[in-house]
């Protein structure tokens, strides 16, 4: 299992600001890994993801993907390696679902050309893989929030990247769709596409992640496997509430978090 992504001592601050949004962040990601970043609002999770996608440029440290420093990579080369699903997507024009997914192929399409039949076929496959092929001709502004999140997912699959970044992918989904989304993500991660997601739900970590980082005030307070990191003490430290971590048995064999005050 090769290392896909290495973040070394990364720090970021906005231009003109004195304080770092985050600093001294180091970790690595290998094939099959699903890293979940937990942390309170405003702790720098989203900014960290944007830096890994090179949408913001880190002010210190390095981010290395497949032995290439992303600071020296061209935009379309980064896009072939890193897929990013933003937290909020504000649609403007009512493109069809297929047209929206086709945009995932941008990095492979020349500046002056349009998608080929192969690109369209790759997008059809992505739609089928996520079971939303029947939506392909519909305006993607006119489907439910859960379906639109799947369209974004299909778009990033069509992008054929080696890493997936998801910023609170479940935040606009209902209870059922959250769990459906996570099980799809788990399967895709298991099939070799490592991913990093941010979340506000410790239970989601137990559902999909094999690594978890707890972030607060721009630093990783803890990093490791869910069982090591998600302790009652750590959860109290970041969220300020008492949480009981219970082991479910009777065939489910997973931990869950229950707030108790």
């Amino acid at each position: 299992m090769g290392i896909k992504l290495e973040v070394n001592n990364a720090a970021f601050k906005y231009f003109g600001s004195k304080d770092d949004v985050f600093n001294e962040i180091s970790f690595s990601l290998s094939d099959g890994d699903n890293l979940c970043i937990l942390g309170p609002n405003g702790c720098g999770k989203t900014t960290l993801l944007k830096c890994i996608a090179n949408l913001l440029t880190i002010t210190d440290g390095t981010i290395v993907i497949d032995n290439h420093n992303i600071g020296h990579m061209k935009r379309h080369d980064i896009a072939k390696n890193i897929g990013y699903i933003p937290q909020l997507h504000a649609p403007t024009f009512p493109y069809t679902v297929l047209d929206a997914v086709l945009m995932g192929r941008t990095a492979y399409i020349g500046l002056m050309s349009t998608p080929s039949e192969d690109d369209i076929e790759i997008c059809r496959e992505a739609l089928k893989q996520l079971n939303i092929y029947h939506l392909r001709e519909r305006p993607y502004t006119n489907i439910s929030g859960g379906e639109r999140q799947m369209v974004m997912f299909a778009r990033v699959l069509a992008q054929k990247t080696s890493i997936l970044l998801l910023d609170e992918p479940t935040s606009h989904l209902d209870f059922g769709n959250q769990n459906r989304f996570l099980s799809i993500l788990k399967e895709i991660t298991k099939n070799g596409l490592p991913s990093i997601m941010t979340s506000h739900f410790p239970d989601h970590v137990f559902l999909v992640a094999n690594k978890v980082a707890i972030m607060n005030n721009g630093k990783f307070l803890a990093f490791g496997t869910p069982d090591e990191v998600l302790t009652e003490e750590n959860l109290y430290n970041i969220y300020g509430i008492k949480v009981k971590v219970l082991q479910l048995d009777s065939g489910i064999n997973r931990r869950i978090c229950v707030p108790i005050d």
Partner: protein, 354 residues
């Protein structure tokens, strides 16, 4: 994989007609309409020439036909009507293409080509030249030059400001537009009310009245090159319209793409208004009608908008030069004819595609 995200509301949705399949037909119909309109336009006008004579005169340029018509007919067709008809098509196509591109770039269907102050700049350039010189060629060059100066200034200002690049661009464009509008008013205030002031006013109302081939050729070259480049990158405008950050994450060099769109769209708009004067409405509305016909994907929308723009301007200009015994300023008619038609379409059209 069996997991499926679904919700109740989507199951009852009626499947819309596939726009993908309909598009080639619509484009073809529009193209044929434009060709027919182009031919018909030659026998419209104050000086009566019958369709048969028009055909004969055109054929005489290729085949050796003995002229049975007065020389003046040839002059009317080749020196007056041909440049004017070509100008109408080019200007309409330019404004509509620029409008559609800017709407994608700024992610807003309410944007028109003058968003960066192009037409305000052109208006001031023309007014200034009318007051100082009065030579038609100088007026055209000055309008074109100041139009580009206005866009360039907006762009430079927005580059100096940190923040959302499209937002700062719009704000800078509004400010520069307002500045040049004020300067145009100043020119009108200073102009000689006997001759210069009416000329400025007529210029601002727009007209294709006095276009000759020699003025048209440089403008035509700029417009054709600009439209061609926008057509080549048109699919990427889709990606850019998803927003700066998403477009970057999808692999677009947004700075470069934005620059190409701004330069091309501004050049063709400036070239168009430098010979026609202010013509509003076309650049804003033709892309909307295009979206109603073929949907929002720019791969289909840009060519359809260009064709619609050409057809619309040609129809309007034909009305301008034939409806009354005096020429009607085209900038007035584009709105008077276009607004009721557009309102009808909004009422009838598919929601969401606007």
């Amino acid at each position: 994989m069996t997991t499926q995200i679904e919700t109740k509301c989507t199951k009852n949705f009626k499947k819309p007609v596939s726009f993908w399949k309909k598009t080639p037909t619509i484009t073809l119909i529009l193209f044929i309409s434009l060709i027919l309109l182009f031919i018909i336009s030659f026998w419209l006008g104050r000086y009566g020439i019958s369709p048969a004579q028009v055909v004969q005169i055109f054929l005489s340029k290729i085949f050796p036909i003995t002229p049975t018509w007065p020389d003046i007919m040839e002059t009317v067709i080749f020196d007056i009507r041909l440049p004017r008809i070509l100008a109408a098509i080019l200007i309409g196509a330019a404004l509509a293409t620029a409008g559609a591109s800017f709407q994608g770039l700024f992610r807003n269907p309410l944007v028109s080509p003058q968003i960066l102050g192009v037409t305000s700049g052109a208006g001031f350039g023309a007014a200034l030249a009318i007051v100082i010189s009065g030579n038609p060629a100088v007026i055209q060059i000055s309008a074109f030059g100041v139009a580009l100066l206005a866009v360039g200034t907006s762009w430079l200002i927005s580059n100096r400001v940190r923040g959302n690049p499209t937002l700062t661009l719009v704000l800078a464009g509004m400010a520069i537009g307002a500045l040049f509008s004020a300067l145009t008013s100043l020119m009108q205030y200073m102009a000689d009310p006997e001759d210069e002031l009416p000329e400025i006013v007529f210029w601002l109302m727009g007209s294709l009245n006095s276009i000759y081939m020699k003025d048209l050729i440089p403008v035509a070259i700029i417009i054709i090159v600009g439209i061609t480049i926008l057509m080549l990158i048109r699919w990427r405008i889709n990606v850019l319209s998803m927003g700066e950050e998403e477009a970057k994450a999808l692999g677009v060099n947004t700075t470069q793409l934005r620059a190409i769109i701004i330069v091309c769209a501004s050049l063709i708009t400036a070239a168009a208004v430098s010979i026609s004067g202010m013509i509003g409405w076309v650049g804003l509305v033709m892309p909307h009608i295009g979206r109603m016909l073929v949907g929002p994907c720019n791969k289909k929308l840009l060519p359809v908008s260009a064709l619609l723009g050409g057809i619309y301007m040609l129809i309007i200009d034909n009305i301008c030069r034939t409806a009354l015994s005096v020429e009607i300023p085209i900038g007035i008619l584009t709105a008077i004819v276009g607004v009721p038609f557009f309102l009808y379409l909004i009422r009838k059209g598919k929601q969401g595609w606007v």
